[in-house]
């Protein structure tokens, strides 16, 4: 966290260096070099996506690492015909809907369990922990049959299902945030004339904002990336009614794959969520592991 302050003397050449210090800095650059290589390895597959998306169709059959020309036509033709624009809308609808549901449902639950001791509290937290252990893949047949009986539009079904399977993360991280906010702060607010609700809205919620943002972004990303349930429930739909993860598979034909469009669409699907993820990078592990240790 304090990387910048620590490395400051290293970057200024005027600092006089004694011998052990010199060795230390060699070691540090060695560490840095290794880390840079690791970072590049993690980046490479996704850079390859960019290289492929920009490869002209007539160079698809050439066994070269880089194409001779670079084209944007795969990006510009992405929106016509195939209905990928509609799929982006569908994905946004599902991800935003699931995020809203999670927030509405998890906030009161997390707030209450953090502030009150009551019968059934442990049972509730255990239930939440259990849902974190179970993934849709293990109960797919049940999910499919249940939601087919409901007869809802696949978009709505997917919204509810994505919300349900991401609830645990939101409850844990919000519970941790609410628990860390002293009750005295709320009480002080109430003394100052804010009602109970006022204290909650004006004092507790703003303090829990980082947790709320983390829960929101995490739910959005998981719902956006969800593939198995989406594939199962939206299989018969028109492409525009399918979420992006499913719709992208239309470029995979029986005998040939339209790699250019596939990866152009893949970049559209992945780059925004990678950027979103950077915002919650530091807090997300807490939400995933908190429940299991408590």
């Amino acid at each position: 966290m304090s990387a910048t302050t620590q490395t400051a003397p290293l970057l200024s050449p005027k600092t006089t260096r004694s011998a052990p210090r010199q060795r230390l800095s060699v070691r540090r650059w060695l560490v840095a070099g290794t880390a840079y290589i690791v970072a590049i390895i993690f980046l490479l597959p996704y850079l390859e996506m960019l290289v492929m998306a920009g490869r002209p169709n007539n160079e698809l059959g050439e066994a070269t690492i880089f194409p001779k020309h670079f084209t944007f036509s795969n990006f510009t033709t992405l929106w016509s015909g195939g209905g990928l624009g509609g799929s982006i809308g569908t994905s946004l609808e599902i991800a935003a809907g699931a995020t809203a549901v999670v927030l509405l449902v998890a906030l009161p639950a997390a707030c209450y369990t953090a502030r009150h001791r009551f019968r059934g509290r442990t049972a509730f937290l255990l239930l939440v922990l259990a849902t974190q252990m179970f993934q849709p893949a293990a109960m797919l047949v049940g999910l499919q049959r249940e939601f087919t009986t409901f007869g809802l539009a696949s978009t709505l079904s997917l919204t509810i299902i994505d919300a349900g399977f991401n609830l645990a993360f939101a409850v844990w991280i919000l519970n941790a945030f609410f628990s860390s906010i002293p009750v005295e702060l709320e009480e002080a607010g109430m003394v100052d004339g804010l009602g109970k609700v006022g204290a909650l809205l004006r004092i507790t919620l703003p303090l829990a904002a980082p947790g709320i943002v983390t829960a929101l972004i995490f739910t959005f990303i998981s719902a956006w990336n969800e593939f198995l349930v989406a594939l199962t429930l939206s299989l018969g739909e028109q492409t525009s009614q399918q979420p992006l993860t499913v719709a992208i598979n239309q470029y995979i034909g029986e005998y040939s794959v339209d790699w250019g469009h596939l990866f152009a669409a893949g970049l559209v699907a992945t780059v925004p969520v990678i950027i979103l993820f950077i915002f919650i990078e530091r807090r997300v592990v807490g939400g995933l592991t908190a429940g299991a240790v408590k």
Binding site: A32, L43, A163, I248, L288
Partner: protein
């Protein structure tokens, strides 16, 4: 009033319980129920089927090999992920210029959809023009492009190895971050004490760091085992479990069965579900979970 007070948790927790009920608990009931029903091609229930679905499933020639492959898949992927992550966490716990940016690169496979990552590798392993094959050809490892040797995903053995590599790749970010957060909880003076006692850095790591990392390693392993067991997009996109069912894990097998016989697929689902429960219980029991929680 006391009655009202007792009801107030219901008001705050009710929506969450209802959502969990509809999305997680009820599907389990429907799934178990379906596993004892005869279900027609259109999804209509024809009637009660007793244990026939299970008997059919156990009689499938691929059933045992699919289960064994699932075991291999989970053990290898999780073990390799944990080992590499321990190293990576150690690396990214050091101070060096640009650490934040390199950590951003590390999270990419976590943030990106696993399906897309799987498709990138599927393309990169294309026998004729895939970039991994082109590079291996330049290095002289792949003698000829388009040959049998270059068809990594067509051969069940090499396909499984490559898919395991992809599964490790997408599991590394979370695991590394989990261990990193464990490392950051270890106070620095612990190491000073160890150094004064004459421990070398490797010894200090084995004797001091690893034991203190135990809780982080436990949780990361448990979450990884469950994720990897349920993993679907990688195998689905890269081989569809083929040729035949030779690269299918039990999750893939369940989905393949669903296209033929929903009842039998529900049986496979039920077994997967029980396996997850068994994994969690065995894990909690063998790792002394109780002491970890009670501490």
């Amino acid at each position: 009033m006391p009655a009202l007070r007792r009801l107030s948790p219901l008001l705050w927790l009710g929506p969450a319980v209802a959502l969990i009920g509809v999305v997680v608990l009820w599907p389990v009931v429907v799934m178990l129920q379906s596993s004892f029903q005869r279900i027609g091609g259109e999804g209509f229930v024809v009637g009660y089927n007793g244990t026939d679905n299970y008997r059919h499933l156990f009689d499938e020639p691929d059933f045992v090999s699919v289960l064994l492959r699932t075991l291999l898949w989970v053990v290898v992927v999780v073990a390799v992920t944990m080992l590499i992550s321990l190293g990576l966490a150690q690396l990214f716990n050091q101070r060096f210029p640009g650490r934040r940016v390199t950590r951003w690169a590390l999270i990419i496979p976590w943030a990106a959809s696993v399906m897309m990552t799987a498709l990138i590798f599927k393309w990169a392993l294309d026998p004729n023009v895939g970039v991994i094959n082109v590079i291996l050809h330049h290095l002289g490892i792949v003698k000829q492009l388009g040959s049998n040797q270059a068809d990594w995903l067509g051969n069940p053995g090499s396909a499984l190895v490559w898919m395991m590599a992809v599964a490790v790749f997408v599991s590394l970010p979370f695991t590394t971050y989990a261990i990193l957060s464990g490392l950051q909880g270890i106070p620095g003076d612990v190491y000073e004490a160890a150094t004064i006692d004459g421990a070398t850095s490797w010894k200090a790591y084995l004797r001091v760091t690893l034991p203190l990392l135990r809780p982080a390693i436990l949780v990361a392993t448990l979450i990884n085992v469950i994720n990897v067991f349920n993993s679907f997009p990688i195998i689905w996109e890269m081989t569809r479990g083929g040729p035949g069912y030779q690269t299918a894990t039990s999750t893939i097998y369940m989905i393949e069965l669903k296209q033929g016989d929903v009842g039998e697929s529900a049986s496979m689902s039920a077994i997967n579900f029980l396996l997850v429960i068994v994994i969690v219980i065995v894990y909690l029991a063998t790792t002394g979970w109780k002491e970890q929680v009670d501490r």
